[in-house]
Structure formats: structure tokens, C-alpha cells
Symmetry: C3
Subunit: 344 residues, 3 copies
């Protein structure tokens, strides 16, 4: 592993991640990617440490990815699934977290349907003065930092496999397409991509990308936005809003599609799935607007024929979807390693 | 472990298993049975490899058996249970499998309510040119190869504990009793027992053993069948159909009972459970028709007093039910070992 | 680990635990507590052994605690959760247990909603002449021995951290408050505290602490009881019943609160939660009746503001709730070690 100084104790949001932190994660993940190519894919780094997966919201792929990452670092894992838990017995979330703390947990990986739960747990741990780290594995519509970091790793290693780093994305045009309003994946990706110096183009129907969206982002990040469809100019044009797909795809280097929650339909935010696919679904044909070397990402699970056509999803020339999953294990090993190795 | 050549990449069905393959599985399982009698029951054979249990259909005993087999080979295990999965989020089965592939899974153990799912996953993996192995842990009414192999191991080690092999069953009379029509266990057992040269007698009510059943089997296997109740003679009398229990039990060496799905009742395929037990349930009394050394098997879980009487189930002289479970771990270690050790 | 003679094969109840057994558990747990303070918290003691968690009743904290204890002893663990099990397929509990036996389980940790299930499984294992140990992880309203032992460890290590032993509680006044009638935790605690020579004061509304309660206890233990509110004198005044809180708290050294099952409300055993809290909930104010050094315990999960006030629960001066959880892992390691190390 690269010797590095890592001072962050929890990973809750990418809003204040520094370039050095991004690069440390990317380089550490690259080292683990190399470990994963060996016959024996385990390292003893976190032997004797306990990683508790506190998934208050159901998950298959993220939980399995974190569990495998922990096991490959030789940590012991505890799985908490809301369905069979004592949560139904009236215990508060913080009390559940403190129970896992008292059992000897070193790192808590937390997913919850409500935004802010991982932050609340981390604040409580800090208040108690304990060394437990909290890793946000997706909270409501807030953030999903490990997903954005694995997306970053996937596209930067494509450009420079041996030395993935943030600056590789400077000046790249990256489209994020779909249900941006409700997406924690989009929120985390916006932070990392803006930090890299990329041009970020958001495309969605107005119901899923309201005008105030960029104001919200700008306020927190200090980044000024431009709504290319709505307003014409902005002093710091790194973030663009589009209510149509085409201007976002034009000359794009990467297209990030988002999962569409079918529940949105019943809330009258969307017309039919067919119409959505026609307007905002990504297909091989629509991809011709982009650079020839364009690649497509999706955090999964995919609704084939809705966010993305089946044909495109299976096309190894354009689709990075499988690479993202593979990157996920290496990036999560890196995050657990960076949080856990300081606990000697 | 015996040094052997093993070329099969997936274990999906026993329909085309060769004698050499059966014997390799039996001998490898015997070696692991010996490991399991030691104080420390673990071997480092699959260290660093990942076995994913993809159980789209619920299971206790088969999943635990595979999980323990994998752990005793020092593999890391990932468990997927349909109940808490993203399958409800609209992802296809093949996409779920590809996600586990991309995470670095080496062997997928697949159970599904629909026949053919493990084959479809295996075909997709082969199409992608990846080295992942698929092991069918029960698919619909199709096959359950590991169950049939553990049955085979249980009865051949009874005859020759040190050198279990297929030919030991040549000329033995083996009755399979119960809901043959819907049983994947029966289908897999029929392949292995016919391959061994045993005489296989199927007994069930006509609704659960239609005349066309043997035609189906014969077509695939090339074996000609004889319906002893229906037609009187057949040129290759290795497989016999009976609509009554007695002729199947007469002089039998082994009796394999099958689990009765109580749902069959509501489909009007069965009279009452009591009547079923009277006609096709195995009891100590009915066993007197068989050879004195007869042994009874059941894949579990058992409905006591339906397929088999409580008294018989608990009689260590006749019941092999506990041995089958113990054999299960050794046989599944053998299967994982044979699939996994070629991946160096 | 202390070299010791330990002859008990199952841990089902504390009713007949000897002083030597209590002290062996406490001293062994103290050794493991020391192991848990090291950087690498694992020992190879139970390597190659299988601990099966058979949780027929849902649980988060107890299951996680046992699972972590087993992993830290390097055992392999199998988890059985009733929700996704074949129990729904009509198999009996004893058959499920025998299946795990046949797979090679060394220790079964059993929780069930019905009292007596762990005893029944243990009796069946003994009848079969096998060496499997059964550990009761809570059965109906009967007992929860590991909880009472961790409570004992928590309060004796507070008095003498290096040499926790039963006699340290001689003459201490300990109040147990809440739904005593339905509490398996209370039942197990009563056995250990009476064995220690402590004075045990039970306080609850009459519906949750009927007069006959002590008669039941006395009959089994030979201890004579005194109902201080009801009758005035008793020859062996080690166990006292109170239908009001105050006399139980007066000068108490320790207060054990119990979880209130909200279902009791609908059974008309309780007035409103607010009234219950007013009468029997423990608060900082009420605690002033006790000794200044008093400490409060709760087995969790806690209904804040019902059994105990939020303020008191979070007060590190008085609350031992977090210590109990930590003790739980050490005590369960001790129990698994004592049961498992004799199996060489």
C-alpha cells in the first residue's frame, strides 16, 4: 500500500473531500486492484478488526461488495438487516449503533432510507470520544460516497490504469442523466466531478431536476452554476442543467445514467416508462452525439430498456457497468483500509 | 486428495455424467469425509476464492451445507437471499449473476424455483468467456445434482467405506417412492442410478407419475423403460414404473422416499395426507417386503407420518437420513474442490 | 485461560449452577476481556469447530454477540433464521437440530419463543449419545442464562476488575424492576443473585408480579421468600416482592431494569406507558433513594422514557448498559470456550 497521511475519520459525504484525499483513495484502490488479480486475493491488513454492516435499508450489491471487501482485508464482519432486527422493538437507531460499538465494532458501514443517519451516528461516536469510524453506504437522497468514488476510479483507471488521479478528468465533459432530484449517487458524483475540473451536465425532465437544484448545490460548494436551457450565462460554468438529453450528450466523454425508481410514476413525476425511455433512455443511437470514445456508467441495479437499452448495456465497447462493480470491491477495500489502519 | 483429471466446468445436471466423473466425486468426497473426522476440519484448498450462494428460492439445509463446505475449504462466502435482494427492484437474474461475477466470484451455487436458471447463468458465463463455475443447487422440477451425488455417496460408502464407486450398485434394486412428477431429486437420482447399472423402480399414484414420464427420461438417456403395471415387457428393463407401492418394495436394497409438497393437495393431485400415507408412506411393516438389509433415504425436510413413519425415520437400523446430511458436506466439499482447484 | 475443570455439557438454566461454575465463567470471561483489549482480538481456540446459531425467534443483539464471540474464537459459524427457513415446510424443531448435528455442528446456540426448546434439543442430543453442546440463548419466559452471566460479570468486575467472583455480591441489595412475570432475564438473574448471597428485591405492578411468583421460585430453589408488601416476615429473607418501586430502590447497590413488551398493554396488564413510567420507570431523581454508588442495568433493547429515562440511560456515572454489551462478548466467548474446549 502507498504510505500516506490520511486524517479523515468518517466518510460521510464528498462535499469537502480534498484533491489529496481523492488521489489517496484512487491510488490505494489501484494497489488493491492489483491484489485482486493475484491467485490469493486476501491480505491480513484488518485481521482482528470488526466491520459491522448496518443496513437499515435493504441492499444486495452494496452490502455484498462491502462484505467481500472486509473479508478480503481479513476483518470479521457482522451483518445487521433491518428486516430481522430489534428495530421493530422500539430501540432508537443511535442505541443500535451504540450496541455495535460496545460489542467492539471498529468500522460501521451504514445505509438508511433517511438522509443524515450516518452523520448522526458519526456525531454521536465523536461525542462519546470513541475511535469507531462511520462509512456512509447511502443515506436517503443525500449521498453515496463509495459509489461516486468507485465511479471515479472506474473512469480514471480507464485513462491511466497505473496512476489514477483526479486531474485526469480536467476539462472532460460528463453527462449525468435521469432522476437527479432523488439520487444520492448523483449528489456524490457532482462533488467529485466538480472537484476534478470536469464539466458536469445534468439532464432530466423538469420534475426530476428543478431549477433550484443548482442553487442548492452552489450554496454548499461555492460553485456557480449555469442552466443552459433556462438561463444563458453564468460566471463559473462548471455545472449545467438541461431539460433535454441532447445538449448533455453532445461531445460527452462519459455518460452516467441513474436508476429510475418506478415509484416516481405513481407520484405523477413521470409519464410512462416508454416515454421516459424515448426521451431520456440511453441507446447506441443517441450515443452517436457523444465523443467516439464515450463510455456509459450505471450504478445498478438496471431497469433494462428504461434508463438504458439492453443492447447498449451489454456492449463491452461502451458499457462500464461490470467494471464499476469490480472497482467497487477495490475502492471499498481502500476505504476500509484507510479508516481502519490508523486504529493500531 | 486423489490426483485426477476433472474437465467439467459447471455441474448442472447428471444426465451426461460419466462413470469416471461419478467415481472421481465419490473418491474425492471420501477423502474429505476423512478430513471431517479430524479435530481440525478445515483445509486451505480454496483460500482466497469466493463462493457465492445465490439462493433465489429459500432453503435452510442445502444453503447451510454448501456454506459449511465452502468454509471448510477456507473459501470466502457471499450469501444472496431473494427475500432481501434487489430482485424486487427489477434487475434480471442474469444481471444479478453478472454483478457477482464482477465482484470476483469464483463459484456460483444457484437455486431457483424455475427449471433452467442455473443452465442459463452458466451459458451466459461461457458466452462471456469467464472462468466462473456454476453449480446447480436445485432448479424447479429439473435437477438437484448435489443431492443425488450425496445419496450415491451415502449408499456406496455403506457397501465399501474406503472405495465408494458407481459399480457397487450394479444389479441392486432401488425404489424411488413419492411425488416423482414434481421432484428434481428423483430426476437427478434416476440418472446416477441408471448409470450405475441398478434397477430403478418408481412408485407413485398415477397423478404423480404419468405414463409419459419414462418416455421423457428414455428420450434423453437412451434408456428404454418398462411400466410393470401398465405394459408387461420392455427390451431394456432398467427403469420400472409402478402405481402401487408393493412391487417397488419387493426385494429392494434401498428405498428412496421423496418429500411431499403439501401444495399438491390443493391442486387435486392427491387425496388426503392420511390416505397418501396409507398407500405410499413407508413404515417398518411395509419394509418387510424388502431385503432384510434394506435402508431408507429421504432428502429432507421430512413430513413425519406422511412420506415415512416417525418410528422408521428414527430407527438407526434402517434410516440413512442423518448419514445423508453428513455426506452432504463431504460431497459438496468435493464438488467445490473439483470445480475450484482448476482455477489456479 | 485458567486451567479448570468444567463438566457441564449444556448451558440451559442457572437453577443448578454451582459457585465453582459461576466463578469459572467469571474468571474465563475476565481472561477474554483482556484478549479483547489487544490489537488482534482473535484466538485460535475453536478453529475448525462449528457454532450454529439456531434462532427460531428473531434477535439482533444476542445473535450478533454470539456470532462475534464465535468468530473471535476462530470457530466457523452457521446462522439459521426462522424467517427464511424450512420450518415453514413442516419439519419439526428436533429434526432441524438433528440436521445441524449431522452437518457437524459442535455447539448449538438456541433461541425460541417457547420455553423448554433448548432443553428438548439437549435431551435429544444426549439420547443420541453425541457430543454436541446446547446453549440456551433465551427460551420463552423461562431463562436467558448468558444474559444473567454477563450481568453478573458486569457488576462483579466493577467491584474487583481482576478477580470477579460470586462472593463479591454477598449482602448487596439488588433491585429487579419491571415485567418480572414475563421475563426470562429476571428468572436467570434471580438464580445467580440468590446464589451469590445478595438480597434480591423484585418490584412490579401486581399484574406483572403475582404473589405465586416466589412460591414458584422457592419450590425449585429451596429459597424461602418474603413479600415485604404482602406478608411481613419470612425465615430466609433473601428474595423480596414489592408492588411499589420505592422499597426496592431504598439503599440498593444495583438496579436491574427489564424491557417492557408493549404487547402487554393490549392484554390489559398495564395502564398507559406514561403511567407505567411514572410508577416504575427509573429516573435520576428516583435513584436518589439508592446508595450514592448505585449502578443501573438493562438487557436492551431499551424503550427510552418507559423503563428508564433517556437522561439516566445516557449518564455514564450510573448506567452500565454499554458495559453489559461489551461484557456480553467476553462472557459468550467464555461459555463457548468452556463448552467447546472439552471436545478435543
Amino acid at each position: 500500500m502507498p504510505t500516506t497521511t490520511w486524517n479523515r475519520h468518517h466518510i460521510l459525504s464528498l462535499a469537502d473531500f480534498t484533491t489529496t484525499e481523492y488521489d489517496t483513495v484512487l491510488q490505494t484502490a489501484a494497489s488493491f486492484q492489483e491484489v485482486l488479480s493475484r491467485r490469493t486475493k486476501k491480505v491480513p491488513t484488518l485481521q482482528g478488526q470488526v466491520v459491522a454492516n448496518l443496513f437499515f435499508e435493504s441492499s444486495t450489491r452494496t452490502r455484498s461488495s462491502f462484505e467481500l471487501a472486509a473479508k478480503r482485508l481479513s476483518a470479521d464482519t457482522l451483518n445487521f438487516a433491518a428486516a430481522t432486527s430489534s428495530m421493530t422493538k422500539g430501540e432508537t437507531i443511535l442505541d443500535t449503533a451504540k450496541t455495535y460499538l460496545a460489542m467492539g465494532t471498529d468500522i460501521m458501514v451504514v445505509r438508511h432510507r433517511e438522509a443524515g443517519v450516518p452523520n448522526a451516528i458519526a456525531a454521536e461516536m465523536d461525542r462519546l470520544g470513541v475511535r469507531v469510524s462511520v462509512l456512509n453506504a447511502g443515506d436517503g437522497q443525500h449521498e453515496h460516497p463509495s459509489q461516486a468514488l468507485l465511479d471515479l476510479f472506474t473512469i480514471t483507471t480507464l485513462i491511466d490504469p497505473d496512476h489514477p488521479r483526479l486531474e485526469l478528468l480536467k476539462g472532460k465533459k460528463i453527462a449525468i442523466v435521469g432522476d437527479i432530484l432523488h439520487s444520492r449517487v448523483a449528489r456524490s458524483n457532482i462533488w467529485s466531478l466538480i472537484a476534478s475540473g470536469a464539466e458536469v451536465h445534468l439532464a432530466a425532465p423538469p420534475t426530476l431536476l428543478p431549477k433550484f437544484f443548482t442553487e442548492f448545490i452552489s450554496e454548499e460548494s461555492g460553485v456557480r452554476s449555469q442552466e443552459s436551457e433556462v438561463r444563458s450565462n453564468s460566471p463559473n460554468p462548471q455545472l449545467f442543467l438541461h431539460w433535454q438529453l441532447e445538449p448533455a450528450l453532445q461531445n460527452a466523454d462519459f455518460v452516467m445514467t441513474l436508476r429510475l425508481q418506478k415509484e416516481r410514476m405513481t407520484a405523477h413525476l413521470l409519464p410512462s416508462l416508454r416515454e421516459y425511455h424515448q426521451l431520456f433512455g440511453i441507446t447506441c443511437t443517441k450515443l452517436q452525439l457523444c465523443k467516439p470514445s464515450v463510455k456509459v456508467l450505471h450504478p445498478g441495479p438496471v431497469n433494462r430498456g428504461v434508463e438504458i437499452s439492453s443492447e447498449l448495456m451489454d456492449d463491452p465497447e461502451f458499457s462500464l457497468i461490470q467494471s464499476q462493480v469490480t472497482s467497487g470491491v477495490a475502492v471499498r477495500m481502500a476505504l476500509l483500509y484507510l479508516l481502519g489502519s490508523g486504529k493500531a
